[in-house]
């Protein structure tokens, strides 16, 4: 707030308060003709409204309100840029409550949070809390049963693009993952895409044209093996999926051509900032436990 508004607000507020006091005193009494019935002058269907006096304590309620307003404006921000004697702000109040909740939460985690992972997955309370963190933060993409959807991996099976060890899952949750498959149409050409696709399909043991497969294998070794490995089993360093099983993250094997043509990308957002250290650990442990069963 610049100086002009700072003073404008202060003047308006203080003038108002003073005006209220004046109004209160000015309207507390009124002069009427001695024999007047003392009505408000309002009349409906021949019924006139008496101007009956209010009880005195009603006046005191107004006075108390004005005193309260003065005290409030002294203690809290209200007069322009003046911050108030209590130095209160929404952010500080939020932070104080947030810290209180965090402290209480960490206190309730204390009994299990430092357990080694093998014990942690067997702790019912830890897993219940993990499942709730999952429901609130992860289920939106991965499904409430964690079995994923097109483009969002199933977390209950043993197929992991970025590794299924606890530490690897923890890293995935904390820092997120960015899976990119580059478009290869310019390099392979239309015919090449068909050949490579045939080879990839043959990896998950489906019958394909032998000529296409042989050509495809050459091109696969040139362009794809760097990430997916010469055996096509993928590499969890890059999040390159295993192409030899029949699990297709982006739908069915029907989309292989499109994937090679146009490339693919998948993004798992980082959660270290959204959750905190302890909650990231709990939800990662919960996800880890899902594939262990």
């Amino acid at each position: 707030m610049n100086n002009f508004w700072h003073w404008t607000v202060i003047v308006i507020v203080i003038v108002h308060l003073i005006a209220y006091i004046w109004l209160l005193l000015a309207t507390a009494k009124k002069k009427v003709a001695k024999n007047d019935k003392n009505t408000t002058g309002h009349e409906w269907d021949g019924i006139v409204e008496l101007d009956s006096p209010m009880p005195r304590w009603w006046l005191w309620l107004f006075v108390i309100s004005i005193i309260f307003a003065a005290g409030y404006l002294y203690a809290y921000p209200g007069l322009g840029n003046y911050q108030g004697s209590l130095n209160w702000s929404q952010q500080k109040q939020f932070q104080a409550h947030y810290d209180k909740v965090t402290e209480a939460r960490n206190k309730s985690f204390a009994t299990f949070i430092n357990k080694p992972i093998d014990e942690l997955v067997n702790d019912d309370k830890a897993m219940l809390i993990g499942s709730r963190i999952f429901a609130n933060n992860c289920a939106l993409c991965h499904g409430s049963d964690a079995q994923g959807a097109t483009g969002f991996p199933n977390l209950t099976d043993d197929d992991w693009n970025w590794g299924g060890d606890f530490e690897q899952i923890l890293t995935s949750v904390k820092t997120g993952r960015n899976g990119i498959m580059p478009p290869l149409a310019p390099a392979l050409g239309e015919e090449g895409v068909k050949q490579v696709a045939a080879y990839v399909r043959s990896l998950s043991s489906t019958e394909q044209d032998a000529n296409l497969v042989a050509e495809g294998q050459n091109k696969f070794n040139m362009f794809c093996a760097a990430c997916h490995g010469t055996d096509g089993k993928g590499n969890d360093m890059f999040g390159a999926p295993n192409l030899t099983d029949n699990i297709w993250l982006h739908g069915t094997s029907e989309i292989i051509e499109t994937a090679i043509y146009e490339g693919l990308s998948g993004k798992m957002p980082a959660h270290a900032e959204i959750l905190d250290e302890n909650r990231v650990k709990l939800v990662a442990a919960y996800v880890y436990s899902l594939s262990k069963e």
Partner: protein
């Protein structure tokens, strides 16, 4: 214009409170009022002590969010019943007002009932109306101090007991009594105990009729439910006027029945003169009826110069009890009560909530089957641990699948469980974009169902 008319006076629009000293009065209506006080306050002070099956019979357990009412448990999900109950209470008020005027104010309103008790204590310690007026005028003496102190002790004790009982509806009263005994009250118990005590003390000891005159909304809008056939307390002007007393009365030719003894004014707890006609300040306590009847009896005139009557019968026309508004209020009230009782009897101890997963409409299980994923929340509102079975209907060959062990579909009383479920269907059958299906949760003879959306296989 005469000089008198031009003369002005200054009016203070905020009036200092003039204390009202209602005179004590006996009579048939005052007996009924005392009976109402005893019964209503008796209920208030005794009910929290009732036990049923080892727990407090009526307890509004806010921290655990459950209301225990005579063996029934009500949950926040049953809040609709409270809303209905309040609507029923409002319509009863309308119905009785249209039929019999301000019965509520005179006989049942907590403000009146507690004020009655406080005034009774005032009489006990300070004496009747005249003695109280004299005492307040008198300078401070030991006698005045003694009387005022005993009154305050009675008031404060009674107010504290009221606050204690009030809190006892929300926290088990026997434990509360122990906590007070060892002086270990929780901060909220302490706050409400003293707040409610203070409110009782202030309202019944000092504010009294001012609550009715300045604060009560009902006092302001009750006239909307009145008509000329509603029961009111009224002075019979035709019979009473011209009022006169003493010597004048004996010499005058044709005096009215009112002997202008002003007893009806002295007994009035809101400080009005009923002879001025129907006023919104009148709380229909009937004290003036009893006072006037006694006077009429002593003067050898027929009773009922002030009586329960209607505007129609005062003006000599016939009064009708059954009017359209009474019938309408009664019908609405009857409908509401029937609805309330039926809904209450039919309420299920299984509360369910089904949320469809938001990330995907349907998922392929294999080349012929699809599934929709939901989060199912079940709350056990019953008193025993329950086991649940799930089923889906609305399409042929639907099946409900859960990944969790069957013991996860079990809930303790009051427990809320949340399980991911899948409903599977052949894609040839679920071939529309959206189907409406019914998911049912059963436990023993109880069942609750919810209609849910099922996204089908349609390219």
């Amino acid at each position: 214009m005469s000089t008198q008319e031009r003369e002005t006076i200054e009016l203070n629009l905020y009036q200092a409170h003039k204390k009202i000293y209602p005179r004590e009065v006996k009579g048939r209506f005052q007996f009924k009022r005392k009976l109402a006080v005893v019964v209503l306050l008796g209920l208030f002070y005794l009910v929290p002590w009732l036990q049923m099956g080892g727990e407090q019979a009526i307890l509004f357990d806010l921290p655990n969010r459950r209301f225990h009412i005579l063996g029934l448990i009500l949950w926040p999900q049953d809040f609709i019943f409270l809303a209905l109950l309040l609507i029923i209470a409002a319509f009863s008020l309308f119905f009785f007002t249209a039929l019999a005027g301000r019965l509520w104010c005179g006989y049942a309103c907590p403000q009146t009932v507690w004020t009655e008790v406080f005034i009774w204590m005032e009489q006990l310690t300070e004496g009747g109306r005249n003695q109280r007026m004299k005492l307040d005028q008198a300078p401070w003496t030991w006698n005045k101090f003694r009387k005022k102190t005993s009154k305050q002790i009675l008031w404060v004790t009674f107010a504290l007991w009221t606050g204690f009982t009030f809190v006892g509806f929300f926290t088990p009263i026997r434990e509360l009594a122990n906590h007070i005994w060892i002086w270990q009250l929780g901060p909220w118990e302490m706050f409400w105990l003293f707040f409610y005590s203070f409110a009782t003390y202030g309202n019944a000891g000092f504010l009294r009729e001012q609550v009715c005159l300045y604060m009560c909304p009902y006092a302001r809008f009750q006239s909307a439910m009145f008509d000329k056939d509603s029961l009111i307390i009224s002075y019979d002007e035709q019979r009473g006027e011209p009022r006169m007393r003493g010597k004048k009365r004996r010499t005058e030719n044709n005096p009215g029945d009112c002997i202008d003894c002003t007893l009806c004014v002295q007994v009035c707890p809101t400080g009005i003169d009923i002879r001025d006609g129907l006023q919104y300040e009148c709380i229909a306590c009937a004290a003036c009826i009893d006072a006037c009847d006694e006077v009429m009896e002593k003067s050898g005139m027929p009773k009922g110069l002030i009586r329960y009557t209607t505007e129609h019968s005062l003006s000599g026309k016939p009064s009708r009890i059954l009017r359209p508004r009474v019938i309408l209020y009664a019908l609405v009230l009857f409908g509401l009560i029937t609805g309330f009782v039926t809904a209450f009897m039919m309420r299920s101890p299984i509360s369910i909530n089904v949320l469809h997963d938001r990330n995907t409409f349907y998922r392929m299980v294999d080349s012929n089957t699809i599934e929709n994923v939901y989060t199912l929340k079940i709350m056990n509102k019953g008193r025993e641990t329950a086991q649940y079975q799930l089923s889906a209907s609305g399409l042929p060959e639907l099946s409900v699948v859960t990944d969790v062990d069957s013991d996860m579909l079990q809930a303790e009383p009051g427990q809320l469980i949340s399980v991911p479920i899948k409903i599977r269907a052949p894609k040839k059958i679920a071939n529309q974009r959206i189907h409406n299906i019914l998911l049912s949760v059963m436990s023993g003879q109880h069942k609750n169902s919810e209609e849910v959306k099922y996204f089908g296989y349609k390219k």
